[in-house]
Amino acid sequence: MAMKTPPLIHPLDKHLRLDRVPTMYCPGCGIGIALGAMFRALDRRFNEGLLDPNRIVWVGGIGCSARATLYVNYDAAHVLHGRAIPFALGVILANPNLQVIVIGGDGDIAGIGGNHLIHAAKRNIDMIVVMITNFVYAMTGGQVAPTTPVGVKTTTTPYGNPEPPINVVKVVTSLNANYVARASVTTPHYIESFFYKALGMKGFRFIEIVSTCPEVYGRHIGLRDPVDMYNELKKRVKYKQKPSIEESDISWDTGIVIGEFLERNNPSYLELLTGVRGK
C-alpha cells in the first residue's frame, strides 16, 4: 500500500490527494474549476493566518460534486446521498473549532437532501454549503434533476421535463442564512471571492455554482463539446452587484444572474448555543 509521494508541481497541489489525480471527472467538467477556485480562496485565508488547514472538514454526499471530497487533502467525509448537511451539523456541534465545508450537487443538496438544507439554513448553523448546479443527475447517467429546466429531455423525461425547476437561492434566502451567493464556473474569480468571504463569516453560508456538464447534460441540450457548453453558459451569465432575489431565477433564455444575493450577520447557531450573542 506504500505509495511514492508525488511531487508538488501545480500551485494548488498541496490541496489535493495527488495519488488520486487525475480525477474521475469527465473532460471539461466544471467541478474541477470550482474546486480550484475554492482552493485559491483557502490559500488566501491560510496566508492571512486566520484559518488552520487541520481544522477544515469537507463533507459530501453522493454524486459527482460530492465526490470532490475524495480528492481534497483534508479531513473529509464521503457519506450518504443527501445527508452531508446533517453529518456536517454533527461535526461542527461536536467541535465548534472546525470549519465545515459541505459540497454537493443540486440533486444531493436540493433534491434528496432538500429538507436538511432548509433546516440548516433555518438554524443558521455554522457551515458553508457549496452547491454545484449542473441541471442533471450526472453520475447515474443523466436523469432529471430538481434544477432541470422545463422541456429538457433527460433519460427519465424522454418527452421533456414537465416540472419547473427549483430556485434554490430563493429558497435559502427566504430562511435564516447569513450569506447566499451564486457564481458560475465561467467566472472562477467570483467563486474565489465569494468563497473567500464565506470563509470569514459565521452562520449558514450558501454558494450556488452553476456548472457545465458537457458529457451528460451537454448531450441532452446539444452542447456535447466542453468549449461550446462553457461558451454558451458564459454568454448567459450576468454578474450584478447586489442583485435582488426576484432576479435569481435561472433561465437559459433570459440569462443567469450571479452575485451576492444576501449578506448579513444574524447570530449563528453556535453563537446562540454558547451564549456569545443573542438574548
Binding site: 473529509a76 467525509a77 464521503h78 450518504l80 445527508r83 446533517p86 451539523l89 467541535n95 473549532n97
Partner: protein, 373 residues
C-alpha cells in the same frame, strides 16, 4: 453513587451521561421522547449538546458526524424512526463509527400502536441496513439494567468502532423503579483508540485486534470517512480482495470480542431441568415469575434471559443448560425462537408468541407455557 427512582428512559439517558455522552440528536417519537427531553435539560450543563433534528435520518447522520469529530454520541427513537435510520446504520458500520442507537420498541407494523409495547423489532435491529455486517444489540429487562446496558453499549461501540443498538420497549421506558446511578470512577469506561497526534494514520488499517485507531477530525490526520467499499487508506476499492478484506474484518472484529459483546443471565440452569424458558426484555420479567410459580408447583423449570440479542454466543448458549425442552417467550410472532430452533437443534424448541400490547399477565404467560408442558 446516588440512589433515585426513575423510569427506564431516564435510566438510559443517565447511563449515557455516565458513559461520557457529549452529543445527542433526535426527533420526538413515542415512547422514546423522554430520553431527549431529559438529556436536553441535563447534557448542556455537562458541556454536551442536544439538538432536535428535522427527522430521524438527520438525527443519526448528525451523531455519526459528531462521533467523527470526537464526541460520544447517541440517538433514541422508536419503530418508524428506526426504520428511517436504516441507511445510516450501514454508514456507521462501513465508516466504523462508534454510535449508540436506542430503539424503544412499540407495536407495529407502520404507525401501529405508538403508546404500547412490543418486541417485534428484534430482527430489524439485526438486519436494518443492506449489506453484510453485525450490529451488537442489547435488551434490558429493568430500569437498573437499562442504565447498566447503556454504559455497556457505549463501551462496546468505542471498543469495536461499531454502531450498537439498545432495544428497550414501551414497558421498560415508562416503568419506574429504583435506580443506582454510579460515578464515572465506579464503572469501567472504554474510550476509542485514536492515532498519536502527528502520526499519519491510514484510517482503516487495523491493529492486531482488527480495530483501526480512529483518526478524529481536526487533528491533522487528513482522515477519510468513506461510505464506499474502501481499502486501508479509505480509498474506493471495487475489487474482490478489498471487498472481502473489509467485510470479513467488519465481522471478525466483533466475533473476536464475543466475550465482551455477549451477555446473558440464567436462573437454576445448573440444575437438572426438564424445561428451560428463554426470554428477554420486559417479557422476561413475567417469564421469571412464571418460572418461580411453576417451580412452586413442582415443575423442573429453569430460565435463561438474553441481555445481548445479537450476536449470540451459540456455544455458550448450548452449554448453558441441559433441559431437553425449551420454550421461547417473546412479545412477537416468534423471532428469537428461530435462533433457538437453530442453536438447540437437537432439542425440542417451542414458540410462545404473546402479541400483547401490555406487559402480559402471569396468567397469560402460564397459559401459553401450559400448552407445551
Amino acid at each position: 453513587m446516588r440512589k433515585t427512582f426513575a423510569p427506564g428512559n431516564v435510566a438510559i439517558a443517565e447511563g449515557a451521561i455516565t458513559a461520557g455522552l457529549k452529543f445527542y440528536a433526535g426527533y420526538p417519537i413515542t415512547p422514546s421522547s423522554e430520553i431527549m427531553e431529559y438529556l436536553a435539560e441535563r447534557l448542556p450543563r455537562l458541556g454536551g449538546v442536544v439538538i432536535q433534528m428535522e427527522d430521524e435520518i438527520a438525527s443519526i447522520n448528525a451523531i455519526i458526524g459528531a462521533s467523527w469529530a470526537g464526541a460520544k454520541s447517541m440517538t433514541a427513537t422508536s419503530g418508524p424512526g428506526f426504520s428511517l435510520m436504516a441507511e445510516a446504520i450501514g454508514l456507521a458500520v462501513i465508516t466504523e463509527t462508534p454510535i449508540v442507537v436506542v430503539n424503544v420498541m412499540r407495536a407495529g407494523p407502520s404507525t401501529g400502536v405508538p403508546t404500547k409495547t412490543s418486541q417485534s423489532d428484534v430482527l430489524q435491529a439485526r438486519w436494518l441496513a443492506h449489506g453484510d455486517y453485525i450490529v451488537p444489540c442489547y435488551a434490558p429487562w429493568s430500569v437498573q439494567e437499562a442504565y447498566d446496558l447503556t454504559i455497556k453499549a457505549f463501551n462496546t461501540a468505542e471498543l469495536l468502532r461499531t454502531p450498537v443498538v439498545i432495544l428497550s420497549d414501551a414497558v421498560i421506558a415508562h416503568l419506574w423503579e429504583p435506580l443506582v446511578i454510579r460515578d464515572e470512577k465506579e464503572v469501567t469506561i472504554i474510550n476509542r483508540k485514536v492515532p498519536k497526534e502527528g502520526e499519519k494514520a491510514l484510517p482503516y488499517k487495523p491493529d492486531p485486534d482488527l480495530i483501526p485507531p480512529m483518526p478524529i477530525f481536526g487533528r491533522g490526520f487528513k482522515a477519510i470517512a468513506e461510505s464506499l467499499t474502501h481499502d486501508e487508506r479509505g480509498y474506493y476499492a471495487p475489487r474482490d480482495d478489498s471487498y472481502r478484506a473489509l467485510v470479513l474484518r467488519l465481522h471478525m472484529k466483533i466475533f473476536k470480542r464475543l466475550d465482551q459483546v455477549f451477555d446473558y443471565e440464567s436462573y437454576y440452569c445448573g440444575e437438572d431441568c426438564d424445561y428451560m424458558l428463554l426470554s428477554y426484555g420486559s417479557v422476561a420479567r413475567i417469564a421469571y415469575l412464571a418460572m418461580l410459580e411453576l417451580r412452586k408447583r413442582g415443575h423442573r423449570v429453569c430460565m435463561l434471559r438474553l441481555k445481548t440479542l445479537w450476536p449470540l454466543d451459540e456455544e455458550k448458549l448450548v452449554k448453558s443448560c441441559s433441559a431437553r425442552r425449551i420454550i421461547v417467550l417473546e412479545n412477537n410472532m416468534g423471532k428469537i425462537y428461530m435462533d433457538a430452533e437453530r442453536i438447540f437443534r437437537d432439542r425440542e424448541v417451542y414458540p410462545a408468541p404473546l402479541l400483547s400490547l401490555e406487559l402480559p399477565s402471569l396468567r397469560d404467560v402460564l397459559e401459553v407455557i401450559n400448552t407445551w408442558l
